[in-house]
């Protein structure tokens, strides 16, 4: 099935490449989304536009016009195996929550911290962004300082665990980005958090 399709494809585009002469072989293949969701890629070749809109939709760009075809997992593996094998681990996101007005983690978040450490151990090199937040109780100045203190507390836990200082950026955003919007002065545990991106 695959072999006959490949043969057909060659039969179709080889003459076109011949006409163009020294054309460079080019092709692009959209891959399916991991969660099966929608995806698309807009391909513009000169004045021609093609939209690839499903997994394995592909365009051959060797000739003057884009030539659409359906690729396969097999073709992707054969042609792009090395590139895909070099793909880094995806970024991971963690959220840790804090007790009111403090930089002490809640009990549940201590377990989340352990999950984060387990993720870190899988990465040969890390860069980590830590963003501290507060709830809406108190002044901007107070919350900016508290948010930074929380971010720094998480940074310190990572450094103790062996992560290099230079690989971590820790910042505080105070009460500017409330996860749960509330009026000023409302104590909301879900806003007292630190968001961490591990790359």
């Amino acid at each position: 099935m695959n072999a006959s399709r490949a043969a057909l494809r060659i039969a179709l585009f080889a003459p076109a490449a011949w006409l163009v002469g020294c054309a460079v072989e080019e092709r692009v293949i959209l891959l399916p989304e991991a969660n099966g969701g929608p995806t698309s890629l807009a391909v513009r070749q000169g004045t021609h536009d093609v939209v690839l809109d499903h997994g394995y939709a592909a365009a051959d760009l060797t000739a003057a016009d884009p030539w659409r075809y359906e690729a396969s997992a097999d073709e992707v593996r054969k042609t792009f195996g090395d590139a895909l094998a070099a793909q880094p681990m995806r970024a991971a996101h963690f959220t840790l929550y804090f007790n009111e007005a403090s930089d002490d983690l809640t009990q549940d978040s201590r377990q989340a911290l352990e999950r984060m450490f387990a993720d870190l151990d899988k990465r040969p090199v890390r860069d980590i962004v830590i963003i501290g937040h507060t709830d809406a109780v108190g002044s901007d100045e107070y919350n900016d300082a508290l948010a930074k203190k929380r971010a720094d507390a998480v940074k310190a836990m990572l450094v103790v665990r062996g992560v290099a200082q230079d690989d971590i950026v820790a910042i505080g955003r105070g009460k500017r980005d409330l996860l749960i919007p509330t009026p000023a002065g409302i104590a909301e545990p879900r806003n007292r958090r630190v968001e961490i991106v591990v790359r």
């Binding site: 080019e26 880094p88 970024a91 955003r173």
Partner: protein, 145 residues
């Protein structure tokens, strides 16, 4: 009066931008070199990348890069990948990322830039411009015949 304000805003801006770093090499196999401002440096694991860097792999090489917007770019052997332009605002997710694959193979998983705006990320090949609206794709540019 203005100057302390500017200094203050810079002090806040620097942690977000993390100097001029736009990404980091996470995976490196075989021969990988980075061309930067007329010089060539070894593309080893951990190296931080800058806008305008050109990433090259040898016949035994492959490389994997994570950008600060969480997008992933990985190239197979005999590839030339230029990181032409990169601006990323870590707070708003706005900015622009233009890369080009001059030859070889490239696998892409787009990140926050493409998610924020379908016009924010493009990958160029010698023949085409790819506007990244979805998440994952692969592209190959063969050798000149």
């Amino acid at each position: 009066m203005l100057r302390p304000l500017v200094a203050l805003s810079l002090a806040f801006a620097i942690p977000f931008a993390n100097a001029a770093d736009i990404g980091q090499i996470k995976v490196s196999k075989g021969t990988v070199t980075i061309e930067r401002a007329g010089h060539s440096v070894a593309g080893s694991v951990g190296l931080r990348l800058q806008a305008s860097d050109v990433v090259k792999t040898g016949s035994d090489g492959s490389v994997g890069i994570t950008m600060t917007d969480n997008s992933l770019l990985s190239a197979g052997p005999n590839s030339v990948l230029a990181l032409d332009r990169y601006d990323f605002d870590d707070v708003t997710s706005e900015g622009r990322f233009d890369a080009s694959l001059r030859k070889g193979t490239l696998a892409v998983v787009s990140g926050r830039l493409a998610k924020q705006s379908p016009a924010a990320m493009t990958v160029r090949t010698p023949a085409a411009v790819l506007g990244v609206r979805g998440t994952e794709f692969v592209v190959r540019v063969g050798d000149e015949r």
